[in-house]
C-alpha cells in the first residue's frame, strides 16, 4: 500500500485487558408523535487509555446522542436504546443498575458540553458548582472542596481563580465559562473525557486556546478523550483517530493522518473538499449537494447515496458493510478502495 502503518490502526487487535471504552453495535431510536427516528444505527467505536478519538459529523448525525448514551444521560423517553453494548473496563454499562451507573458518571467518564452558558446552572456561583461535585461525590469537606476548586480553576488557567469563586456563570466570558465547565468535569479525575463540540459557541481565537488547553490536560492528566465536532479544522492537531458519522452510522474510521491524506469514503472526501483553503483562492468552495437525510425515512441502501457523486445502482439497493482497507482503516462504502485510490468514476 501507499501508506506505512507506523501508527496503531483502527483494526489493531484488542489489547490484553480489553479496550478502556468500547461501544458495540449501538442502536438508538427516538419515539416522537410523528414517528420513530432511527438516530443511531449500529455505531461501534473504542477508546484506549491516553488516546484521542474525534467523532465527526453534521448536526443530526448522531455523534452527541452516542456520547449521551455512553454517559447514560439520554432522556428515555423519547430515546430508546434498542440494542448494543457500552463496555467500560470490560463491564457493560447498559446492564448496570442506575446507582452503579451514576457512580461511573463524572468519576470514570466525564463530559463537557457545547454551550457553557446554558450548561452551567445560572443561579449558583461557579465555585459552588465545581465544589458540589467534590462535596457530594468525593465526600470532601467544605474547606477541602474550596481548596481543590481553586486548584482546578488554576489548572484550566482561569486568572485570579480564588477571587472568582463567588462569581456567577453570566459574569464570565465565553472562553472562561468553558474553562469552568472543564474544571468541573475534571473534579473527580475521570479516565475518559467526552468533549461535545467544546468550541462551537466560541470565537475563533478562543477556540484555539480551548483546544490547546484540552490537548494539554489530556496529556498531563493521562486521560483518554472523545472529541465530538463538526469542524474538521479542530480535529487535525488534537486527535489520533477519526470516526466520521453519517445518518447514525460510522461511515469512515481511520488514523487522522491517513484520513486527511486520502479519504476512503465519498462523504469524508466531500467534507475535506469543503474546507476553505488559503492556498487555493478565487475558486468557488466545494459543497456536498443535498441535505442530510430525514432520520424517520433513511434512504435505502447506502444512506449517503442520494448525495454521493459516485453513486451506482448497488448503492441504492445494498447497505454497504464496513470494508476493511489494506492498512486497517474501515469505510462503509461499496467503492471504498476506489475512492481511497482516487479511481472512482
Amino acid at each position: 500500500m501507499t501508506e506505512s502503518a507506523v501508527r496503531p490502526t483502527p483494526a489493531s487487535p484488542t489489547p490484553p485487558g480489553g479496550h478502556l471504552l468500547e461501544v458495540r453495535d449501538l442502536h438508538v431510536e427516538f419515539r416522537t408523535g410523528e414517528g420513530v427516528a432511527k438516530v443511531i444505527n449500529g455505531v461501534s467505536y473504542h477508546l484506549d487509555p491516553g488516546e484521542t478519538l474525534a467523532v465527526l459529523g453534521e448536526s443530526g448525525s448522531g455523534k452527541s446522542v452516542t456520547a449521551q448514551a455512553v454517559m447514560g444521560i439520554l432522556d428515555t423517553p423519547p430515546a430508546v436504546i434498542r440494542s448494543g453494548q457500552i463496555r467500560y473496563r470490560g463491564r457493560d454499562l447498559l446492564t448496570l443498575p442506575e446507582e452503579q451507573r451514576r457512580q461511573v458518571r463524572g468519576k470514570e467518564i466525564a463530559m463537557i458540553f457545547q454551550d457553557a452558558l446554558s450548561a452551567l446552572n445560572p443561579v449558583f456561583p461557579v465555585g459552588w458548582q465545581i465544589g458540589e461535585t467534590l462535596r457530594h461525590r468525593a465526600g470532601m469537606s467544605r474547606a477541602d472542596a474550596r481548596r481543590r476548586t481553586v486548584e482546578l480553576m488554576d489548572l484550566v488557567r482561569i486568572p485570579g481563580a480564588a477571587g472568582r469563586l463567588g462569581d456567577h456563570p453570566h459574569q464570565f466570558s465565553g472562553g472562561m465559562r468553558q474553562r469552568v465547565m472543564i474544571a468541573m468535569a475534571l473534579a473527580l479525575d475521570p479516565k475518559v473525557l467526552i468533549a461535545d463540540e467544546p468550541t462551537t459557541a466560541l470565537d475563533v481565537t478562543v477556540q484555539a486556546q480551548i483546544m490547546d488547553l484540552l490537548a494539554d490536560l489530556r496529556r498531563d492528566l493521562d486521560m483518554a478523550m472523545i472529541l465530538i465536532t463538526h469542524d474538521l479544522g479542530v480535529v487535525a492537531g488534537v486527535a489520533d483517530r477519526i470516526a466520521v458519522m453519517y445518518a447514525g452510522r460510522i461511515v469512515e474510521h481511520a488514523d487522522v493522518h491517513a484520513l486527511y491524506r486520502a479519504p476512503a469514503h465519498p462523504y469524508t472526501k466531500g467534507l475535506l473538499a469543503s474546507i476553505p483553503r488559503l492556498d487555493v483562492r478565487g475558486r468557488e468552495l466545494a459543497t456536498i449537494r443535498g441535505l442530510p437525510p430525514n432520520l424517520m425515512r433513511i434512504p435505502t441502501g447506502c444512506p449517503f447515496h442520494p448525495r454521493c457523486p459516485y453513486v451506482q445502482q448497488v448503492c441504492v439497493d445494498v447497505v454497504p458493510d464496513d470494508l476493511v482497507l489494506a492498512d486497517g482503516r474501515t469505510s462503509a462504502c461499496h467503492f471504498a478502495q476506489e475512492v481511497h485510490d482516487d479511481r472512482a468514476r
Binding site: Q68, S118, N121, P122, V123, R137
Partner: protein, 312 residues
C-alpha cells in the same frame, strides 16, 4: 441596587400622591350634599350647617376649594391622622381593629397556597402527563373557572351549613378556626395559579441544559431536582406569591363579606356602600402604601433570587 431602591422610593411618593388624589376626587365628586350625608336621615339646622361648612372648609368652592381640602387632608395624613369616618369613629382605630383579622386571613390563605399549590405543582411538573398531573389540571381549571362570589357562598353552605364542619360565619374578633374555611376559599384561587405556574416552571427547568450537566456530574436525582431544578423553578413562583401576598393584605371584599369577617375589605365595602368618603379614602390611602411596598419587596427579592438580574 441602592440607586434602584432609591429611585423606586421616589416613584412610590409620586404614585402615592397620584392615587390618593384620584380616589379623593372620585369619592367626593360622586357625593351629593356631604353635610346631609354626615347627618344621615336627621334634619340639619342652619346653624349646624354653617358650623360644619366652616369646619370642613366647604365654604371654599370650585377646583380651588377641592385642592385646599385635599392638601388639608394630606397634611393630616402625613402626620398620621387618618381622620374620622362619617360615623364618628377614628379611621385609625377602625384599621387597627380590622388589619390583624385580614392579616390572619391572608396568612392562612398563603399557607394553603404554598402547602398545597406549590407542592402539587412541583409533583405535577416532575410527573408530567401522569394521572396526578391531569387530575390537578382538571381541578385547577375548575377552581379558576368559578368566581369567588360563587365559590365562597357554596363553601359556606356545604361546609358550614349542610355539613357543619366549620363555623359558617366568623363574627367579631374571630379566632383562627373560624377563619380557616374563608382562608381556604381565599387561598384556592392563588393556589390554582401557583400550581399551574410551579408545574410549568419545573417542567421547563427539567429540560434545561444545566440538568443534563448535573446528571453528568453523577449527582443523585433527589439532589438534581431538590437543589438545581427547584432553585430555578421557584423564582417566578416566589415573585407571584409576593404580589399575591400584597393583594391578600389589602383585604378580600367578597370573602370577608360572605363570611362576615370584620377585616379591611369588609370595612372598605361598608364605607363604599354608606358613601362614607373619609373612610374609603383613608383605607385606600393605606392600601396604596401596602401595595407599593409589597411590589418593591418583590422586585428586590427577584434580584436576590436571580443573580442575572441587576437593577441599575
Amino acid at each position: 441596587m441602592f440607586r434602584f431602591v432609591l429611585r423606586r422610593l421616589l416613584q412610590m411618593v409620586l404614585a402615592f400622591f397620584g392615587t390618593t388624589l384620584i380616589v379623593y376626587a372620585l369619592m367626593f365628586a360622586g357625593q351629593g350634599d356631604p353635610i346631609q350625608a354626615l347627618a344621615g336621615e336627621r334634619p340639619v339646622t342652619p346653624a349646624q350647617r354653617a358650623y360644619l361648612t366652616e369646619k370642613f372648609h366647604l365654604d371654599r368652592t370650585g377646583i380651588g376649594g377641592f385642592f385646599y381640602r385635599y392638601l388639608d387632608y394630606l397634611k393630616n395624613l402625613l402626620q398620621g391622622d387618618l381622620g374620622q369616618s362619617l360615623t364618628g369613629r377614628s379611621i385609625g382605630d377602625i384599621l387597627a381593629a380590622a388589619w390583624p383579622v385580614t392579616v390572619k386571613l391572608a396568612v392562612i390563605a398563603m399557607a394553603v397556597t404554598i402547602l398545597f399549590g406549590v407542592t402539587a405543582g412541583v409533583l405535577a411538573g416532575i410527573r408530567r402527563a401522569s394521572l396526578f398531573d391531569n387530575a390537578t389540571l382538571v381541578l385547577t381549571l375548575l377552581v379558576l373557572g368559578i368566581p369567588t362570589i360563587v365559590l365562597a357562598p357554596l363553601a359556606q353552605y356545604l361546609l358550614g351549613v349542610r355539613w357543619p364542619i366549620f363555623p359558617p360565619t366568623a363574627g367579631a374578633d374571630p379566632d383562627l378556626w373560624a377563619l380557616l374555611l374563608p382562608g381556604i376559599v381565599l387561598g384556592s384561587l392563588s393556589l390554582a395559579t401557583a400550581l399551574r405556574l410551579t408545574r410549568t416552571s419545573v417542567a421547563e427547568n427539567l429540560r434545561a441544559d444545566y440538568v443534563r450537566t448535573a446528571r453528568s456530574k453523577g449527582l443523585v436525582r433527589r439532589r438534581i431536582i431538590g437543589v438545581h431544578v427547584l432553585r430555578n423553578s421557584l423564582i417566578p413562583v416566589i415573585t407571584f406569591l409576593g404580589v399575591e401576598l400584597g393583594n391578600l393584605m389589602s383585604g378580600a371584599i367578597i370573602t370577608e363579606g360572605v363570611f362576615n369577617i370584620p377585616g379591611v375589605g369588609f370595612n372598605l365595602f361598608r364605607g363604599i356602600r354608606t358613601e362614607d368618603g373619609p373612610l374609603v379614602v383613608g383605607i385606600v390611602s393605606v392600601l396604596v402604601v401596602v401595595y407599593l411596598v409589597a411590589n418593591l419587596v418583590v422586585d428586590v427579592l427577584y434580584a436576590v433570587l436571580d443573580p442575572r438580574i441587576r437593577y441599575e
